[in-house]
């Protein structure tokens, strides 16, 4: 069971959280203006890196807030967690 640092509540066990998929995937401002390929990318295409991954968690059985985390998918070590809206701390790519 992972130990996750909620930026609002501190360290809590994984059971209090729900994983929310890749972070920094913004919904197109005007979906109707997107091409079918752009829209498919938004719907389905996610990063699946072997290494650092920016992902979302929600502290669903705590404060209820979504936040982002940078985790190494080869070790499950969290490099950092940060609030929504903040940039990815390692300056890594955000789509």
């Amino acid at each position: 069971m992972l130990l996750i640092h909620c930026p609002y509540c501190g360290q809590r066990p994984e059971l209090e959280f729900r994983h929310g998929g890749q972070a920094h995937v913004a919904r197109p401002a005007d979906p109707s203006a997107t091409s079918i390929d752009e829209w498919a990318d938004y719907l389905y295409l996610r990063e699946n890196p072997k290494g650092l991954h920016a992902e979302r968690w929600r502290h669903v059985h705590g404060c209820g807030r979504f936040f982002n985390a940078l985790r190494d998918t080869t070790t499950d070590v969290f490099v950092s967690t940060y609030r929504c809206g903040e940039p990815r701390p390692d300056g890594g790519s955000a789509r």
């Binding site: 069971m1 992972l2 719907l43 699946n48 072997k50 991954h53 985790r71 998918t73 080869t74 499950d76």
Partner: protein, 417 residues
């Protein structure tokens, strides 16, 4: 290929076992192949075998970064069935079951396919409705699947608790008698041996580090830890690592990799005659020929390549097993392990051409790829050989996500109301 039989065993018994030959040749990479399969699991080795056996491509290689069969092929719970809901899926998986039925004879390698019956338990009214829909659809398309009352389910699997002293009593079951299990390692080794005998080079400890493209963007070769190899066709069959390998050619697929765990008990004398699955409460169980109860757990929720999951996932699965089979509460977990499953948004695989010419992919099997091994390998070989999908895998394209033509078995089954 050295013939395996009772006779060969007898002969070697008197010869001190000195006459056995390597089951597959230890190959070193050539400068060029007509096609290369990346990934030496059952799907990849099988594709190489069918390319050689059915499409006449023998100047081909399988490159594997570790040892063959060491990924999900050697880590799954070996359940084989084809009673899927959608016609596309049922056709694909049933193609596979039919190949399973003769695979030992075709490969001259006992893969121990054991059609012991796969029983899926219904625990609520919604399960009953969904399973009956499966049964009717399967029957009409020629895939066996039948409804059992709780009493019939108990007769088929005596350890099953059909009493109402459990939280979610068994309300019935869908049984596919042709379903069962097979010996996972033997599938990899059997395909490797047969492919090697047809001239396929099986190259272990050879990790792909790059995919080379020509000026037109088509595949020109691969870079590996054992050097660069030229080829015009690359078939990627890399399971949890598909995203990583395809990324080398700039191809992004809608895949995410999650940890999936399984475990076995200590071996005991025969205690469990079939395969039982309960999707509602996450329990998957059979007994291996060695006597171990083989139990599948659900996957963790986050992407990971660690091949390790959380303890509470196993605990939940064992709680479900103990409810359904209360005598097993006293059994003991011997070994637990994790695999990496690559999952698509609709939980169905991709067996298709990619936007890069000469690059083909077979991935996205999620938690259920073992059962499809021969069928998937067979149609993937066809796709690579003809640069066109086989009719069976034609629906399993990458483009289906763009178009919304999902083959969503999970959504069709799992929506509660």
């Amino acid at each position: 290929m050295q013939k395996f039989s009772a006779w060969s065993l007898l002969k070697e018994a008197f010869g001190g076992q000195q006459g056995w030959q390597p089951q597959w040749r230890r190959a070193t990479p050539k400068a060029e192949y007509d096609a290369i399969i990346v990934g030496g699991g059952g799907h990849g080795l099988g594709a190489a075998y069918y390319l050689a056996a059915e499409h006449g491509l023998t100047n081909i290689a399988v490159v594997e970064k570790g040892w063959i069969g060491g990924g999900n092929t050697g880590r799954n719970t070996t359940i084989i069935r084809s009673n899927y809901l959608f016609d596309e899926s049922a056709q694909l998986y049933d193609h596979s079951v039919k190949l399973w039925e003769t695979l030992s004879q075709v490969l001259n390698y006992n893969v121990m396919f054991s059609p012991r019956g796969v029983m899926m338990l219904a625990h609520n009214v919604h399960d009953v409705q969904v399973f009956k829909r499966h049964i009717h659809a399967n029957r009409a398309s020629g895939v066996d699947n039948e409804w059992l009352t709780p009493e019939q389910a108990k007769a088929f699997c005596p350890p099953l608790n059909i009493g109402d002293n459990i939280r979610y009593p068994v309300m019935g079951a869908a049984l596919q008698r042709r379903g069962g299990t097979a010996r996972h390692d033997a599938v990899a080794w059997g395909y490797a041996r047969a492919a090697s005998a047809l001239g396929v080079d099986i190259i272990e400890n050879c990790e792909v580090t790059g995919i080379r493209r020509d000026a037109q963007g088509a595949v020109a070769g691969i870079d590996t830890t054992r050097g660069t190899i030229r080829t015009r066709k690359v078939g990627v069959s890399a399971a949890g690592h598909s995203s990583v390998v395809l990324g080398m050619a700039g191809v992004k697929l809608p895949l995410e990799s999650f940890p999936l765990q399984a475990l076995v008990s200590e071996p005991v004398k025969p205690a469990f005659p079939c395969v039982v699955m309960s999707n509602s409460i996450h329990a998957y169980i059979s007994q291996s020929d060695k006597g171990e109860l083989v139990i599948g757990a659900s996957s963790d929720a986050y992407n990971s390549y660690t091949q390790r999951g959380s303890m509470f996932i196993n605990a939940h699965t064992l709680a479900a097993i103990c409810e359904l089979f209360p005598a097993f509460r006293r059994m003991r977990m011997l070994r637990n392990w994790g695999g990496i499953v690559d999952v698509t948004p609709d939980r169905s695989p991709i067996i298709a051409k990619t936007p890069v010419k000469g690059l083909y992919v077979n991935c996205g099997w999620g938690t259920g790829g073992f059962k499809a091994t021969p069928g998937s390998a067979h149609v993937f070989a066809h796709t690579i050989a003809h640069d066109e999908p086989h009719p069976i895998n034609a629906p399993f394209t990458i483009e289906r996500f763009r178009d919304g033509r999902l083959i969503d078995e999970a959504a069709a089954a799992a929506v509660a109301h």
